[in-house]
C-alpha cells in the first residue's frame, strides 16, 4: 500500500521535505506507521507530534485505509 505523508513545522525541517509518498508492505496501523517514521527519521523521537489521517487526529490503533493523506503535526502555535 502507499499513501501521501505531509510534514509540518519542525518535522518538515527534520525530514528535509514537506511531503512524500510512503510505501508499506501490508496493512498498517497509525502506531505501526509512527514506528516506521521514527526509524526513518530518528531525530523525531525527541519531538512531540500528532498524526492526522485524512485531516483527523488519530489514535495509534486506527488502521490506515488507502487512499489516505497522513500529516505529522507538531505542537500548535496559532494566535
Amino acid at each position: 500500500m502507499s499513501f501521501q505523508v505531509k510534514y509540518f513545522g519542525m518535522l518538515a525541517e527534520i525530514a528535509g521535505l514537506s511531503d512524500e509518498v510512503w510505501n508499506a508492505a501490508g496493512g498498517l496501523t497509525v502506531g505501526q506507521f509512527r514506528e516506521q517514521i521514527l526509524d526513518k527519521y530518528p531525530a523525531m523521537r525527541e519531538k512531540k507530534f500528532k498524526i492526522a489521517v485524512n485531516q483527523r487526529i488519530s489514535e495509534d490503533f486506527l488502521l490506515i485505509e488507502t487512499p489516505a493523506e497522513i500529516a505529522l503535526l507538531p505542537p500548535f502555535a496559532g494566535g
Binding site: G9, M10, A52, L73, F76, A77, G78, G79
Partner: protein, 149 residues
C-alpha cells in the same frame, strides 16, 4: 437547530493591518441589532531568547485541516453564545514583532455573550487549529518553534 454558516476565508498573508480592523468595525454600523462587539487582537511579542529578541513569527498551517477546524469553532460558538456575527482572521507567512497575527471579532446584542465568546474562540484556536510558528531570533538567522501553552 442552528443554521449552518458558510465557511469563511480566515487566512491573510502577512500581518493584519489596523486599517483592516477599523474597516471591519465600520462595516457593522448597519447591523443595528448589535449592542456589543468584542475584539481580540494577538500581537507578536519580542520575547528574549538565547541569541537575542524575537523579531517576528513565520506562520505556516495545514491549511485544509485548519479551515475545517476554524469552521467547527465558528459553529460551536454560534451554538453556545447569542451572537449576531463572528469574524476570525489569522496570518500566514511572516509577521514582524509588534504587528497583529490574530483578529477575532464577535458581535452580540449584549456584552456578556461577546466577552465570553471571544475568550472561547481564542482558546479553541490556540488548542485545536494546526498552525505552526517559527520564531525568528536576532540578526543571525536563528529560530525556534513556538508552542502554545
Amino acid at each position: 437547530m442552528e443554521k449552518a454558516h458558510k465557511p469563511k476565508k480566515v487566512f491573510i498573508q502577512g500581518p493584519i493591518s489596523p486599517d483592516f480592523v477599523a474597516k471591519s468595525i465600520a462595516s457593522h454600523q448597519s447591523k443595528t441589532g448589535i449592542g456589543a462587539h468584542a475584539i481580540f487582537l494577538g500581537q507578536i511579542r519580542a520575547d528574549q531568547k538565547e541569541g537575542g529578541p524575537v523579531t517576528g513569527i513565520d506562520y505556516t498551517a495545514y491549511e485544509e485541516m485548519a479551515e475545517q477546524a476554524f469552521y467547527d469553532i465558528r459553529e460551536a460558538a454560534f451554538a453556545k453564545f447569542e451572537l449576531t456575527c463572528m469574524h476570525i482572521y489569522h496570518s500566514l507567512g511572516l509577521v514582524p514583532t509588534g504587528e497583529i497575527s490574530l483578529f477575532v471579532f464577535v458581535s452580540s446584542p449584549h456584552r456578556r455573550a461577546a466577552f465570553e465568546a471571544s475568550e472561547y474562540i481564542v482558546e479553541e484556536i490556540k488548542a485545536n487549529v494546526p498552525i505552526f510558528g517559527k520564531e525568528l531570533i536576532g540578526e543571525a538567522g536563528q529560530h525556534v518553534w513556538k508552542e502554545n501553552k
